[in-house]
Every structure is written in C-alpha cells, then in structure tokens.
C-alpha cells in the first residue's frame, strides 16, 4: 500500500488552478505573487535612489517629489516587501513547494490542504500591506525593523502602521504552515533508498530554512502581538520615556526582533546555498566536493544562527560582556560559511565547466556573496561597528548578501527549473545577456552604497546632504542611482525572456541539463501525480563523471533512481 496513492487531477477550473492542493500549482502561485511584489519593492527602491540623486525633485511616474514622511514610508515598505513578500515567497515558498516532493520522490506534500491554505493566508498578508498605503496617515513609516517607541501608537499613529504589523504577523502564520509541511514531507515521504545524505543540497537548504522558520518566526509573531497590544489596547510593553525606567522597555523589542531577525537572514540564504552546492556540481560535471562537509556546515550555521543576534545591538547599551560574546560567536559563524565556499571552489577545480545561464548566475551569486560576506567582518568587529553602525555600509553589506546573492540565486533557480515547471525552454542568449548586465550592475550599486557608508553617510536619511560632512557624497550617490536605474532596466530582458518562454518557448525534454536528481526523471512538466511509480533510490544526487558509469552507459551522469552499476547487477542482466 503506497503512502501516497495516485488519484486523478480535479477537472473543475477552480479546484484545478485556483484553490489547488497540487504543490506544483501552489508553487507557481507563490512564484507569481512574489515576482509582482519584487517589482513593487524594486520600484520603491528606485524612488529612494531618485531622491538621493535629485533631492526634492519630482519623482517620474509619481509626478511629485517625495516628502520626509512619504520617504519614510517608502524605505519601510521597500524593506518589508522585499524580505517577506518577494524573496521569501520566491526562494522558499515557490521553489520549496515545487521541488521538495519531486526531489525526494513523493507525489505531493504531506499536508496538501494546509499547503493550499498557506498560500491564501500569504495572499491575505500581501493585501494587508497594500491596504496600509491607502489609509489616511499612509503606510508604515518606522523602518522595516519596527523599533518602538517609534513604531508604537505614540511614535507612529495611524491604521497604516497597525495594518503592516498585522500583515507581518499574518505572513508569519503562512510561513509556519509552510515550514510544518516542508519538514514533515522531507522526514516522512522520502522514497525508499533516499537517505538524508543522498538528498540534493537544495532539499537540505530548504529543510534547514524550514526548521529556522518554525523555531524563530513565532518569536517575531510574539513581538508583533506585543506591539499590536501596545498600539491598540494601551499596554506599555515597549513604551518608556526619559531617564525613569519602566514600565516599558524598548530594548525588549530589539531582543525579540533580532532573535528572529538574524536567523531570518540565514533563512533567506540557505535555499540559495543549497542551489549553489547542487549547481556547482551539475555544471562542473563532477561530484560536489566534500558534500558531507557542506551539509554539516549548513547544519552548523542553522544551529548558531540564533545566538549571534546581538551584533545588531552593539551600540544600544548592552552589557559589554554580552557584546563581546556576540562578537566571538559572530566571528565563529563565518567558519561553516567558509567551508561552504571552499567546497564550491573545490568542486569547480578540474571540472568540465558548462557555462549555461543558471551556472553563470550561480557563479555570480558566489562572487557577490563572497564580497558581501567579507564586509560582514567590519560589522562583526565591535570597534569598527561603533563607526559603521546605521550607516550606508550596513545597507551595502546586507544588500550585497541578501538582495544580490538571494536575487541572483533566485534567477539561477528560475533559469534552471523553468523547463521542468513550464515544459518549455527560455532563450540561452537572452539569459546570458541578462547575466552580463545584471551582475556587474548589482555589484556596482551595492559597492556604491558601501563607499558612501564608509565615508560616514547614515542610512534612512531623507536628505543626506543636510549634513555638511556628507554634502560631497552627492556624486557617488548619483552614480549609484544611475547604475540602479540601469539594473532595473536590464531586468526587462528577463521579463521578456520569461513570458516568451512560457508561451512560445521550445518544448523542453525531460532532462535538458543531463543531471541525476529525481525531478529530471519525470516529463517536463510533470504529470499531476509526479511519478508513475515511486522510484527506488540507489545513487547520490551528484553522481557525475563516474568512470564506471561512463564505461557502461556511455554518459557522464546517472539518475538517482537508476539501477546500481556493479558486478552483481551485470551478472544478473546477462
């Protein structure tokens, strides 16, 4: 008796494509919802860059200049949208939903109806965000970090800020639902023979992300609830004033927020690290170097991520001993990340590289993450952080690691799994052009931010040039803005390629990349039930250029489900 028997797809349009429980449909729903908000977040970023290049001038398409109040809303919504409503749905929800059952040999998630509900709850949170911008006092304006007392009803009154805090809570609920599903599916529904260390690194990345989500999103939920109580019911968890202490403690919110907030950045990068480990192997045509080490490194980072959060609070008045402890732990967490890096570089070495579009974007991700990660050293070090805290250097650092790396990895993933998801192929030529423009531009834009920050420019300033000390930074800010506008323009190539591919692309074979993970063993796109018969797994996910396989099968790859190639089987076949 199979764990997940085959049943036919629903025929009615609403159950088949709208309120679907099929993980593949839900994944695409998340993907499109995320891409729409990615565009929205990007436009908000362009507004910020416009203000810094041409302070006080009319914003194109808007027809009027930003005001200090509207500017505060713009950067707040930009941050929240990009983190919770763009990167999370694309990297985790879309690819997690699509790939996990296929890669482990399952027919669907463990809880298909919960899966469907998680998407609609997510959509509700997106609606709440949009609604906040049509309130009387405007959308939230306290920064994505929502620090009270500024984010309390005293600091930022109005329905808009409340709706946004509620939206964050609701999207947290959706994330937790998804995490429960992913974890249960990976633990319980792996095909026979699919041991944990035969899982593709992509699944490991999504698995560990889901564990972090499950453990730490509730902390954000708690902080959000306490903040909502302060805003709506007059409690004083976070409200205080002057030199008298109590009743409220603004620092309590910071602790709660960053206990979630730091693991959140690892949540946003772990799937990307999983993709990279797999793609380095696939496109070097050799096994991932020290795969066990990479998996244990990701596990190590997951374990450490919750105890380094204090490095966001060095200047807030923490006990110095606590500050030093957080610094040591933050420096330590770079060790497993270093292992991952070296493993990727070692995988490339003496491989036979295929510079396809996904591989180019994956290499670009490694490049920008290396740069961004190294700049983290300055921020982990307390002495230099005393100068750099809350400057554009921090902004450049997290954009380079989160925005650039996660964004490029998401593009690599889209280019890689597009044939499987849509049954057609995107243009390689347009993809390579997209890469050639995007990677240099994205590096330049965020390096520009770091340069401005090193010179001392603070973040979140409506007009940085009010400060005589930073007035001379107008040219570098202008240049960064021009490059950012160009970066946005370059994404048009991707949009055209993406939609052209969906409707008019060349039909894709089952395995265009010639790799062995299970999703490539089914047609493109897969049937509703994924696998006609549940596969039995014999091989690891990176079995490439095995000399025995080459000799007996004449190709440099072998599917995870294919029969073992050894003397016993040969004898039996004779």
């Amino acid at each position: 008796m199979e764990l997940q028997p085959i049943h036919p797809a629903p025929k009615f349009f609403l159950w088949r494509y709208v309120f679907s429980t099929d993980h593949k449909v839900i994944a695409k729903q998340y993907l499109f919802a995320g891409l729409v908000f990615l565009l929205l977040g990007g436009l908000l970023a362009m507004a910020i860059r416009w203000q810094w290049a041409y302070p006080g001038e009319d914003v194109p398409l808007l027809g009027r200049p930003l005001t200090p109040a509207s500017y505060n809303s713009v950067f707040t919504m930009h941050g929240l949208i990009m983190i919770f409503f763009a990167v999370t749905p694309i990297l985790i929800s879309a690819f997690g939903n699509y790939l996990i059952p296929l890669m482990i040999g399952a027919r669907d998630m463990a809880f298909p109806r919960l899966n469907m509900w998680s998407f609609w709850v997510f959509l509700l949170s997106q609606v709440l965000m949009l609604l906040s911008s049509v309130t009387q006092l405007g959308a939230a304006s306290s920064g994505w970090t929502l620090y009270p007392p500024l984010s309390s009803n005293v600091g930022t009154p109005g329905l808009g800020q409340t709706l946004v805090v509620a939206a964050v809570f609701v999207t947290g609920v959706s994330t937790i639902m998804g995490a429960i599903n992913f974890i249960t599916t990976i633990i319980r529904l792996r095909a026979p023979g699919m041991d944990y260390f035969k899982l593709p690194a992509t699944v490991w990345g999504l698995f560990l992300t889901s564990i972090l989500n499950l453990v730490f999103v509730p902390v954000l939920g708690a902080a959000g609830v306490l903040l909502l109580l302060d805003r709506l019911l007059g409690t004083q968890f976070f409200v205080a004033s002057g030199a008298m202490s109590g009743p409220g403690d603004p620092l309590l919110f910071q602790h709660l927020f960053w206990i979630f907030g730091h693991p959140e950045v690892y949540i946003l990068i772990l799937p990307a690290w999983g993709f990279l480990t797999d793609m380095m192997s696939f496109f070097s045509r050799r096994p991932a170097f020290w795969y066990r080490g990479s998996v244990w490194a990701m596990i190590g980072i997951t374990a450490l991520s919750g105890i380094v959060y204090g490095h966001h609070m060095y200047v807030s008045g923490l006990n110095p001993l606590l500050g030093k402890t957080f610094m040591v732990l933050t420096l330590l967490i770079s060790f497993p990340a270093e292992i991952l890096f070296l493993n990727w570089l070692q995988t490339l070495w003496r491989g036979s590289l295929r510079l396809t579009t996904p591989m180019l974007f994956a290499l670009g991700t490694i490049f920008v993450f290396g740069l961004g990660g190294l700049t983290g050293i300055y921020l982990a070090t307390i002495s230099t952080d005393l100068y750099l805290h809350d400057t554009m250097f921090v902004v450049g650092h997290f954009h380079m690691t989160m925005a650039a790396a996660s964004f490029l990895a998401a593009l690599a993933a889209i280019y890689f799994w597009f044939p499987k998801m849509f049954g057609r192929q995107m243009s390689e030529a347009l993809g390579k052009l997209h890469f050639a423009l995007s990677v240099p531009l994205i590096t330049a834009v965020f390096t520009g931010q770091m340069i401005a920050g090193f010179a001392g420019q603070s973040r979140r300033l409506f007009d940085p040039y009010v400060y005589v000390t930073f007035k001379h930074l107008l040219p570098i800010n202008q240049w960064t803005s021009y490059l950012a506008f160009a970066l946005l323009g370059a994404q048009a190539i991707f949009v055209v390629n993406f939609f052209y591919g969906i409707f008019f692309g060349k039909r894709a074979p089952a395995n265009p990349w010639e790799v062995g993970t299970l999703e490539w063993s089914v047609p493109s796109p897969p049937p509703y039930h994924n696998f006609d018969s549940v596969p039995t797994v014999s091989w690891g996910p990176h079995e490439l250029s095995n000399p025995e396989v080459k000799r007996r099968l004449g190709r440099d790859w072998i599917g995870q489900h294919e029969a073992p190639v050894d003397a016993a089987t040969e004898k039996a076949a004779e």
Binding site: P68, N72, S141, G143, Y147, P149, L150, A240, S241, G242, A243, G246, L251, S284, R286, F289, V315, S316, P320, G323, F335, E338, L342, L345, Q346, L348, R350, G351, S352, F367, L371, L374, I377, Y378, T381, I382, S383, L386, Y387, H389, D390, T391, F454, A455, G456, S458, R459, R460, L461, F462, D463, Y467, V468, T469, H472, L473, L544, N546, P547, D556
Partner: protein, 292 residues
Amino acid sequence: MRPWLARGLGLYALFCASWAGADETCDARLSICPGSGYLPPRDISTEGARVDALFWSATLFAGVFFALMCLWMLWAVLFHRNREAEYEPSPQGKRGRLLVYGLIFGALVLDDGHILATVTEDLGIYWGTERFLGKQEPDIVRIEVNAHQWAWEARYAGPDGVFATDDDPVVLNDIRVPAGVPVVVQMTSTDVIHSFYLPNLRLKFDAVPGMVNQFWFEVRPHTADSPTLGSYEIGCAQHCGVNHFQMKGRLIVQTPAEFEDWLARSSRNAQRQTVANANDNGARWGWPWRAR
C-alpha cells in the same frame, strides 16, 4: 617620460587623491568643514586611530581573500572547460586540496584572533568608564544629553558640580567641549530611540527612553599640525521620525580656557532665567549623575 605613462600616473594620482578624507585648507574654527573624498571624516579624537587601524588590517585580510577567490574562479572558468572532469582526486590531489583548507582556516583563525585581541583592548578603553567613577570637573567634563524628536539637548553641571540644579547650563544642538579633557556623557531620550553620532570621533551610542546610557570621548589637544579646535557635526543615527534627517547638532571644541569662560557665563545666564523657568517642568529634566 612617455606621455601615456605620465597620463596614467596622473590619473592614478587623481584616483588616490580622491580617497583622501581631509580638506586641509578649511579652518573648523570658522565653520563646519565640508567632507571630501571617500575615507571617514578627519579624526579629532584620542582613540579613533584604533578604529582606523583596524579598518586597514581587516581590509588587507579581506582583500587578499577576495582576490584569491576571484582568481580561483577566473582560472576555473577559463581553463577547466571542455575536458575530462575529475571524478575523484588522486592522493596528491587530495593533499593539495586539503592544504587549501588548512591555509585558509589558518589565516582565518589568525585574523579572528587579531580582531579579538584588538577589540578586547579597544573595549577596555571605549566602554571602560569605571576609571571616571567619582571624578568631576575639572578632571573630566560631565554632560547629560536628552535626545528629543528632533534635537539634542545637553546639560552641564555648573559651578556647584551637581546636576538638576538652577545653575546648570542647558543647551540645544550646541555642545561645547574642551580639547584634551575627557568628556563623559550620560544620555537618554524623551520620546523615541535616537543615536548620538560623532563621525569625527568614530563613535555612536543609542539614546533609549527609559535607560541612561553612558559613554565617553576625548578630543586631542589642538596643535598646528593636527588642528582640532572648531565646529563639527553631531548626527542622529537611528531612524526617529519625520525629521530624522535634520536632527543635526554642533559639537564645538574649545581650548580649556575658552570652555571655562563659556561655562561660567552660561551658568550665570541659567541662574538669571530660573524665575522664568519656575513653572517649566520640561526644562527640569536633569537627573543626579549616576555612579557607573
């Protein structure tokens, strides 16, 4: 010299000069000096050089790492294509690859050790305010700062040496300190979290309502080669509302004699205004200096 060489060197010199931070022609005693270049603003503090030194050593390490990584990837992309991919490294190949890990982690451990040692020493200085316990004017200058949306209010102890008394000079956005004397600041906020940012002293500290945070700094004594007297900007480095970007104050560094003179005059003015301030509770925000 070949013309192309001269032009190249000229461009390189221009590039290097653009990074220089200090505008040597500006006299800060006349007005706040504009910044220039892409290095941090001119450092006028006694301890800021430690931060700058750490910047350079960290950049050296990170720069070498990054350059090696780029070269490695470039080599692989250029020369490791269209060949037999290596399934399993040979024994000496394995040793070579292991060597890479050893070297990188060795360097990482050394760098982190250096950072740890340096920061431990730095924090003993930056956050070690115990040595100022019990001290007061004229050995140190004590200031209480009350951050508001959107201005910096500061209070000095006055001739009686006690805070929250009628002879306290209270200033708005105009904080004066003597060069060569440690300044100890206790700070809070009336409304939201602000952050007191002195770019020219490489420091910042949050002003949190409900808490009194303490920090210290000292401006180097003024010399002809290294002038420190004059006006510098105080910034707010924590988003605090609509006018966060305008919350700038002025730090005025004076000679100890000028500072004493100003303090005496300001205290006399403060006492004269006591009658007018009798019912102004907002003006009486000082607290007894906390022993830390």
